[in-house]
């Protein structure tokens, strides 16, 4: 059955994120700033990509668009094969909940909820019942090594612990892509390493991870580095991690 083989080939080459000639401008007063000037980027399922660039290069804007937190002006964006077009808030919320997990530089935990409740929150919006939510959330907290801290509030945790809670929260809905915006930006070097190790583990389990950073050491630990400058991609290359992985 040749048709079936075609289907599988397509599946293997499935683009998790496909961006074509993407443009984005922001109005500032009467002027408008052209932030992204025609980005083409294809990311397959299971990739570990870092976007590098100085501030103002447009990397955060790119992540926001990929994360459906913002909308693009021109070009096409396909997430998991679906064309992102005419998004309203409700539709975007459903897609975010289903496909995406976020890790932010400033953690963005809800201050009056415990670590466990923070991790369980995306499942609440997914419609999972409370008992199952808390069970699943506890599993993920255990995975990031914070089971003992489950009932602590964010302000009782260290920066590294908070970011691990945030990662557990990003993973709890089993998303297709984890989007991390400067995940180590607020951490010291030791905790940076532990967070990066965690992201590597996640990627090794087959999840697509998309990291934004301006730190070379962080980017070097991913498998592919895309460099942005003034709104265009200036380089896109695989790191030695990827080559090693493919040799194994």
């Amino acid at each position: 059955m040749p048709l079936n083989i075609e289907y599988f080939r397509e599946k293997i080459n499935q683009q998790m994120i496909k961006i074509e000639k993407l443009h984005k401008s922001y109005p500032i007063g009467k002027e408008s700033i052209h932030v992204l000037k025609g980005i083409d980027l294809h990311i397959k399922e299971g990739e570990f990509v870092s976007i590098m660039g100085s501030s103002g290069s447009g990397k955060s804007t790119l992540l926001n668009i990929v994360g459906l937190l913002d909308i693009h002006d021109e070009g096409n964006y396909y997430l998991n094969g679906e064309l992102i077009k005419d998004m309203n808030e409700k539709k975007a919320a459903i897609l975010r909940n289903k496909f995406l997990g976020f890790v932010f530089q400033s953690f963005n935990l809800i201050s009056y909820k415990t670590a466990l409740e923070n991790v369980a929150l995306p499942l609440y919006y997914k419609g999972v019942n409370r008992k199952d939510r808390l069970e699943i959330a506890m599993d993920y907290l255990e995975k990031v090594g914070l089971k003992e801290w489950a009932n602590h509030l964010p302000n009782e945790l260290s920066g590294g612990q908070k970011q691990r809670v945030a990662i557990a929260r990003a993973l709890v809905t089993k998303p297709k892509v984890v989007l991390a915006d400067e995940p180590t930006g607020a951490l010291d070097s030791t905790t940076t390493d532990s967070v990066m190790d965690l992201l590597k583990d996640i990627n090794n389990e087959g999840m697509t991870v998309f990291v934004i950073t301006h730190e070379e050491e962080v980017a070097a630990q991913t498998k592919r580095i895309v460099r942005l400058k003034d709104g265009i991609i200036v380089s896109d290359e695989l790191t030695k991690n990827a080559k090693q992985a493919s040799h194994v």
């Binding site: 994360g67 913002d70 808030e89 459903i94 976020f102 963005n108 919006y125 409370r130």
Partner: protein, 410 residues
């Protein structure tokens, strides 16, 4: 639609922001407290007015005569006008359809004596209908009837206090009282809501009085109860017409107020009614002003709250919260706080009103102040709706902020 998870979210949020929740609750509770007190006190005033007129039937009309003050048809000023049985019958025949009850009245003052007890009392000679006009309540025995009038019987109905004066604890019914030298049989004992003076009266048949005291057909006054099917305006015009007709029949100048007048409860009722209507209008105005101030207060707090929580909403949206779920979360919290706080204000208000009770009746004419169920239900609805509005408008705005902007907020 009871969602335990959403309630958990709301309680967590209220609990985390106790001061804020208490403040917004206080605004509403205070507004409702004032509203309740205001309404209660006005209803107390209204009760006072109603009881002030409770003595006589609401539909009563009194025809009374004195001396003329204007010459008319060759008759001189200062003539004493005398009502007679013929006038009574004229009114009865002419206006039968507009009259429910009709009685004449003759005033006398006599000494009533039983055994060794004696005292002077006002005695009224009346028709049987008088019982309904004066709202006389028969405690024992019976009132005067048509047969008493036909037979000109010497029977007497005495007030509760006369009975106490003359008989003490002993039974009075069926005993004979000496009145001005004649012996009268006590056939009934009555009480009256009009107060002590009204219970120190005695009633005898009008025909008996006319025969024994003067042997004439004079009467002092005609009391009517207009047909309750008439509305206030119709009753007032009936009173005016009756006044004109009687003046012309008795040869009185049409404008001679001091010779004959008809005191019409319909007019008093209309005045009291419009007075109370104005009072209630003022209360509704001030009361809704208070409520609106409360609603604006809670709206302000909600706007502040939502500003403070913008980032949290951004996080929730990034995690998959739909705008509507955020709107509902805020609205439900707002409705919950307003309802609970409003209920507290309402209960406190009702409790204070019950403490006041009748203690202000003497000096301030406030009798049994209270709020009716309709007002309570209405105010509760207003609260829920205001909570909805106070929460909805700012929440809708917050939910529409793009998540990227919400996340940037601090």
């Amino acid at each position: 639609m009871f969602d335990i998870d959403r309630w958990r979210e709301i309680f967590q949020s209220i609990n985390k922001n106790r001061l804020r929740s208490a403040l917004s609750g206080f605004t509403v509770a205070f507004a409702i407290l004032l509203f309740t007190l205001l309404f209660g006190i006005v209803s107390g005033l209204s009760n006072s007015f109603k009881s002030a007129f409770a003595d006589d039937a609401q539909n009563s009309m009194f025809v009374r005569v004195w001396q003329t003050s204007k010459p008319y048809k060759g008759l001189q000023t200062g003539r004493t006008v005398q009502l007679k049985n013929s006038d009574f019958n004229y009114v009865k025949d002419e206006y039968a359809a507009k009259i429910q009850y009709q009685s004449a009245r003759i005033y006398k003052n006599f000494t009533l004596k039983y055994k060794n007890e004696a005292n002077s009392y006002s005695v009224r000679a009346v028709h049987p209908d008088h019982q309904f006009l004066e709202k006389t309540i028969i405690d024992e025995g019976r009132y005067l009837n048509e047969k008493d009038l036909q037979e000109k019987s010497k029977v007497i109905v005495i007030g509760r206090l006369i009975k106490e004066d003359l008989f003490g604890e002993k039974p009075a019914l069926g005993k004979r009282i000496n009145m001005n030298g004649s012996s009268y049989l006590v056939i009934g004992i009555f009480s009256d809501e009009g107060g002590d003076n009204e219970e120190r009266l005695a009633y005898i048949p009008i025909t008996t009085a006319q025969m024994i005291y003067g042997n004439n057909d004079y009467i002092s006054q005609i009391n009517l109860g207009y047909n309750p099917d008439l509305n206030l305006d119709q009753a007032i015009s009936f009173g005016n017409q009756l006044e004109r007709d009687l003046r012309s029949k008795l040869n009185i100048h049409p404008d001679d107020q001091s010779a004959l007048s008809v005191r019409n409860m319909a007019e008093a009722n209309k005045n009291v009614g419009s007075f109370m209507a104005i009072l209630y209008a003022i209360v509704i105005l001030v009361g809704s002003g208070t409520l609106i101030a409360g609603i604006i207060g809670i709206s302000n707090i909600m706007i502040f709250v939502i500003k403070e929580r913008t980032k949290e909403f951004g996080i929730r949206k990034a995690l998959g919260a739909q705008p509507l779920s955020i709107v509902w979360m805020v609205v439900q919290e707002s409705v919950f706080i307003t309802t609970i706080a409003g209920y507290l204000g309402l209960s406190l208000g009702t409790y204070l009103l019950s403490l006041i009770g009748d203690s202000l009746e003497e000096d301030y004419f406030i009798k049994d102040p209270s709020v009716s169920t309709e007002i309570v239900v209405g105010a509760t609805l207003v609260l829920i709706i205001s909570g909805l509005i106070a929460g909805y408008i700012p929440a809708k705005r917050a939910a529409n902020i793009k998540p990227i902007e919400a996340l940037r907020a601090d």
